[in-house]
Symmetry: C2
Subunit: 364 residues, 2 copies
């Protein structure tokens, strides 16, 4: 078992990474209190796989009385990451007299984690939660760093808060039950962490494609761990994204536009980010930062992990469609779209772009 | 003009108190930035009185271009302090490409202030705002301290966040246009601050009833200033209400129950709090903390300021109705209702109560 710690100005918390972490009551115990009410929030896909297993772990911890352990199963999918799902969780808590000292466990992927975190940030002005991420994407990215939120019909993650969990418990054994498409989607964020921060990790990822895709135990554990470590370092240096934390958004400006325009679930988040990183790399090349060879290294790594590198055709999504979504990106200031580009491999920065540059990055 | 400053661990901000503060661009200027988009949120009662006046002040500041100044007018009333109003503000901001660097000015009473603060806490994970409180209640209480939120059908202020403004600009001249009932409702919170923290202020309030009610300039300015000072001191010592900040909830456990059960607007917030303080004082007496004479001093001061001291009859609201709402109070822990009681005049603490004590406090 590996333990990483995120150290923030006002709060620090552990990330436990390892096989069967979900079965070990000791990771939960130290974050639970006697007489506390606990709600497990999960979805229809995850509940049959892990809900009883997690309940069992909490039960044998001996801290939470079974009368105080509740669960709620939401619909699965990005399209349900909205206010009505938050409202369902809130209703359940109020009906069962959850107070400020109650706690939620988020059992699921990024959607469950983001929604639970957001709900906890606003329920009675803030209650505690634990993340048990079950997708690769949630384990390497979204469960860490305290960004929580829900979507609005006019844009992804438009409503949210910075709100950190008490702990993240990343059980790598659950990755075996992920379908291949979900697994590959999560790899996009691992690649992103390498592209913005660590050339050696890029090289390692190039050399270990089959090991990672086959979930070789040592390889996937290293990929998850190194990914969490890079993410944690950006978060520790810039918790509220005033500055370098925005680099973690590499590929997301284009990616969010694709995801939103094509309809949530049509392109998975990681797929859109994979393709978005190709576009952002192209923009970096157009602006003279990286050369053709570096661009192709990025393009090929994304492609070789099975992620899409070709965007929707102009028939499905044209320049104006991109601009419509990108102009509402949270990084923007004074009506100018901000992009994260690569100055070199392992080295990012924020930049603006001309319409021509954007157009050329899209028509890839 | 008097200026108070709230000093918190990560943020400090000024409270400007005085006649015609709303007309002075210098109070706004230092909190605005060039090219920033600004949205004024107000309601149908306040808009005809002050919206153009405030827009004029912002315009002559010369910092905000008129193309960047927006306004939205919501329905007036506690019953509109809900998600659908937040959604209206969010929609307006997204449609007009407000970004993370945009700002909202809350022009109104406690409802507008709470909703705007909450919206700012979740819009793109947090944007800045300025409070321009127009009710006495908002000037002496709700605009200060960063508690923001909206109501849920199962309880008042159940969803919210701690989120502080950049500044509070309390223009005491606007109190002249308040109707008497609204004015008196605001006085309840002034009395509360005296009861929990300052015997001398109780004595001053006993001696200045007519001056305060007639809005004598010196008297009302002192009452507002001292009230803000007491509130600020509790907030500075315990920003997130882990401890003594809860004392500011004196009278609110009973009061919120009355307000919620009778229907928002039937009893105004301050009216319910006034009556709730009588009940909480009675509980303090029943538990042996204050004597009959001290209880009567509280009872009479509340009564003499024109606030209700008699609760709804059992036909309108019985013991179980109180318990239903009080059992969802945010101060509660482990299914026990927590009350704020007075150990002595000017001295509060948190306590639980037996059913019999609660019943006797209600049947007043």
């Amino acid at each position: 078992m590996q333990i990483l710690s995120i150290k923030l100005a006002n709060h620090s918390y552990p990330i436990y990474i390892g096989e069967n972490a979900m079965d070990n009551p000791q990771y939960f115990n130290q974050h639970l209190k006697n007489n506390q009410k606990v709600l497990i929030v999960t979805n229809t896909t995850i509940a049959p796989l892990y809900l009883e297993r997690l309940k069992h772990t909490i039960a044998i911890s001996g801290i939470i009385n079974s009368d105080n352990l509740f669960s709620i199963v939401l619909n699965d999918g990005e399209q349900y990451k909205d206010w009505s799902s938050v409202e369902r969780i809130v209703q359940c808590m109020l009906e069962n007299s959850f107070d400020r000292h109650s706690l939620i466990i988020a059992l699921g992927g990024g959607v469950i984690g983001d929604m639970v975190g957001f709900t906890c940030s606003i329920y009675m002005r803030g209650i505690q939660f634990i993340q048990v991420p079950t997708s690769l994407l949630a384990q390497v990215d979204s469960s860490i760093g305290g960004k929580t939120g829900i979507n609005h019909e006019l844009g992804k993650n438009m409503l949210g808060a910075f709100c950190h969990p008490q702990a993240v418990i990343a059980d790598t054994s659950v990755l075996k039950t992920l379908d291949k498409r979900q697994l590959i989607s999560g790899i996009a964020e691992i690649l992103k962490h390498a592209f913005i921060a660590d050339v050696d990790f890029i090289t390692w990822l190039e050399s270990n494609i089959q090991n990672v895709l086959n979930l070789d135990e040592q390889s996937i554990k290293y990929a998850v761990y190194r990914s969490c470590q890079i993410k944690a370092s950006f978060v520790e240096q810039d918790e509220k994204e005033q500055n370098i934390r925005a680099y973690l958004n590499f590929g997301h400006t284009f990616g969010h536009a694709i995801e939103s325009h094509m309809g949530y679930g049509v392109w998975l988040h990681g797929e859109a980010v994979g393709c978005g990183m190709v576009m952002a790399a192209r923009l970096s090349m157009l602006q003279g930062y990286i050369n053709n060879q570096q661009y192709l290294r990025i393009f090929n790594l994304i492609q070789n992990y099975g992620l899409p590198v070709i965007p929707p055709t102009y028939k499905d999504m044209n320049f104006n469609d991109y601009i419509k979504y990108m102009s509402k990106d949270k990084k923007n200031q004074n009506n100018q779209i901000n992009f994260i580009i690569l100055k070199s491999l392992g080295n990012a920065q924020k930049n603006i772009a001309t319409s021509k540059e954007i157009e050329c990055s899209i028509n890839i």
